[in-house]
């Protein structure tokens, strides 16, 4: 039994220490945003944020997560109140089949938290490990740039106005 912190809540998890985080998120916690793509850390669909860093949850065993903060897409915003990164992806219609998008958003979120003024080259370099088979790459890049602008303006507005946007 271990305590896993996900999206700000503690969960008691009864699983072997080598269980990949992705299985616990999807099967035990019913958080289905992170996707199972390849299971080998090669496609990016399972990406979540751990202590501010984008991490491939399919090759991250529970034993590595003692005392760490896991954030999934569900932890960023809701349907009624989407986070800037989610709004930006919707406004740019960046998803086609959508399978890669949660992972893309999490990696982009980690990048923008670290570097709100990320250049195009940095965004491309950061998202390079993520595969998208539909080919919405240009929309995804636009969405990340839009998210950066949204986060920038969001900081200047008080909370009530922000939620009214």
């Amino acid at each position: 039994m271990m305590t896993l912190k996900v999206n700000g809540h503690d969960h008691q998890i009864d699983a072997e220490p080598e269980t990949p985080l992705l299985y616990v998120l999807r099967d035990d916690l019913k958080l289905n945003a992170a996707k199972f793509g390849c299971g080998l850390g090669q496609c990016g669909a399972c990406t979540v944020i751990v202590d501010g860093k984008a991490v491939l949850s399919c090759v991250t065993p529970l034993v590595l997560l003692e005392g760490k903060q896991v954030t999934t897409l569900e932890g960023l915003g809701t349907v009624s109140e989407p986070a800037p990164i989610q709004r930006a992806f919707m406004e740019e219609q960046a998803a086609q089949c959508g399978y890669c998008i949660a992972g893309m958003m999490m990696r982009a979120q980690a990048l923008l938290q670290r570097n709100p003024k990320a250049s195009d080259e940095q965004i491309r370099g950061e998202l390079a490990p993520h595969l998208c088979r539909c080919g919405t790459h240009m929309r995804i890049l636009r969405a990340v740039r839009r998210a950066a602008r949204l986060m920038d303006t969001a900081k200047l507005l008080p909370a009530e106005q922000r939620s009214a946007l």
Binding site: E16, P17, E18, T19, P20, G39, L40, G41, Q42, V50, K53, A54, V55, L56, V59, T60, P61, L62, V63, L64, E121, P129
Partner: protein, 453 residues
């Protein structure tokens, strides 16, 4: 004349003599600048040959920086003496070698002096290039002078006094630069001699794989005993090789030409760029290199051969569960590593069985730490081996745990010491190479193999 005047005179004479001697050793004349020759003035055959030779020499690796143009220089090369930046070897008249005549180029290759007569630092491996024939230098010149000219001024080297004085390099050359073109060994085959010429000359394999002395020169007595490059360990290529399965000419050829071998794994780190280049050169030259290097490794003694066979047999059978002495390391391995490395998918696209890994059986843990942290970057636009890096998901302590586990389960060697420091250093430094090096351009895996499982 007083005694002090006599002493003064002697000192003055010695000083003048000394300055004269230094001048004689160090001074090199400038070679007259030329107008950049027109690309059409070089025969296409010569340019093509130059392209292959430049690939054997791995020139683009040091002379291209990530995000920069081909051969325009700017790559920071860390050395124990400071950081040296590679130069622009495109035919740009102001910042490249556009005004260099062929004679100036040959002099640089052979004795490490630039067109203006300044000594070049031996980061440029002219201690090897001195062995390159006139004919090959001419082809290399033709190739470089027909590349796109790029205006990119060299960055200032970060060296402290007195090493920032290029005259010091003249002294280094007196000690360590042995001029003279390659002399063939008539007791060996033509292929062996071809390989020796390339390995000791243009390919400059020893520049990384031979350890260096305190003055930064290769130790002749420890040829191919394993060296350092950019915070990676370059494995020993002689009888001290840590490879679990001994190398032979066939395996070397396959590895160098297509970038991987089922018993040895995939080239990565700085070697990835070397094999990426070697995939572009005539197979006969790669075979010659393999034949010469197999002789440098030497035939394995019978017990070493038996051990290699045992390791291979074990790797092919489903390996038994590890000793559970280290449950944390075992858990990390099971989720983060085994999914690929025990998947049964063969190299290069499946992970190699770690029992065959030199990174784990070798004396220096840096390569393993580097790989675990940064993974193996895919080659853009190509199918190529890939491994995710774990820098974001594992702390230093967790990586140490994993490395200890891998060493004890697969290494068959005594535990590494000071792993904490190695991992800490690797996290800080080795990513510099991955951030600055332009990286491999060709997936070196043989295209004919790519559709196989």
């Amino acid at each position: 004349m007083t005694r002090s005047a006599i002493i003064g005179g002697i000192i003055a004479a010695l000083a003048i003599g000394g300055v004269g001697a230094v001048f004689a050793v160090a001074w090199r004349p400038a070679i007259a600048a030329i107008d950049p020759p027109a690309p059409q003035s070089f025969p296409p055959d010569l340019i093509k040959r130059g392209r292959e030779l430049a690939a054997i020499g791995n020139c683009n690796d040091c002379h291209t920086v990530r995000g920069g143009r081909n051969f325009a220089g700017g790559l920071p090369v860390p050395t124990p003496f400071g950081t040296i930046y590679s130069s622009n070897i495109t035919p740009d008249a102001e910042t490249g070698i556009g005004r260099w005549s062929e004679a100036a180029f040959v002099r640089a290759m052979r004795s490490g002096v630039d067109r203006e007569g300044r000594h070049l630092y031996p980061t440029f491996p002219y201690d090897h290039f001195t062995n390159v024939s006139d004919e090959d230098d001419r082809a290399l010149y033709a190739y470089l002078m027909t590349r796109d000219a790029v205006h990119a001024a060299a960055r200032e080297n970060q060296l402290s006094f007195p090493l920032n004085q290029r005259v010091v390099v003249a002294g280094w050359k007196l000690l360590f630069l042995h001029r003279g073109t390659y002399q063939p060994d008539n007791t060996k085959s033509a292929e062996w001699n071809r390989g020796a010429y390339l390995v000791e000359g243009l390919a400059h394999c020893g520049a990384c794989h031979t350890p260096r002395n305190a003055l930064g020169a290769e130790r002749a007595s420890a040829s191919f005993a394993g060296g350092d490059v950019d915070n990676w360990h370059a494995y020993a290529l002689n009888a001290q090789s840590p490879s679990p399965v001994p190398w032979d000419a066939a395996a070397l050829y396959a590895y160098l030409h297509r970038g991987w071998h089922p018993d040895h794994g995939t080239a990565r780190g700085p070697m990835a760029e070397v094999v990426s280049n070697l995939s572009q050169v005539p197979p006969s030259d790669v075979r010659a290199i393999a034949i010469y290097m197999a002789d440098v490794f030497g035939p394995p003694p019978p017990d070493r051969k038996r051990e290699g066979e045992a390791v291979l047999a074990q790797a092919k059978s489903a390996s038994p569960a590890a000793a559970q002495a280290d449950p944390q390391g075992a858990a990390i391995y099971a989720a983060a590593c085994a999914t690929c490395h025990e998947s049964g998918r063969p190299p290069p696209y499946g992970g190699i069985n770690l029992g065959l890994s030199s990174a784990i059986s070798g004396p220096d843990p840096r390569n393993l730490a580097n790989i675990v942290l940064s993974g193996v970057r895919p080659v853009e636009g190509e199918r190529s081996p890939i491994m995710p890096g774990f820098a974001g998901s594992m702390s230093d302590a967790q990586i140490v745990m994993l490395l200890n586990y891998l060493r004890s389960r697969f290494g068959r060697q005594p535990a590494w010491t000071h792993l904490e420091k190695t991992v800490e250093d690797a996290r800080r430094t080795q990513t510099a190479l991955l951030q600055t090096s332009a990286g491999a351009r060709n997936a070196s895996a043989d295209p004919a193999q790519r559709d196989k499982p």
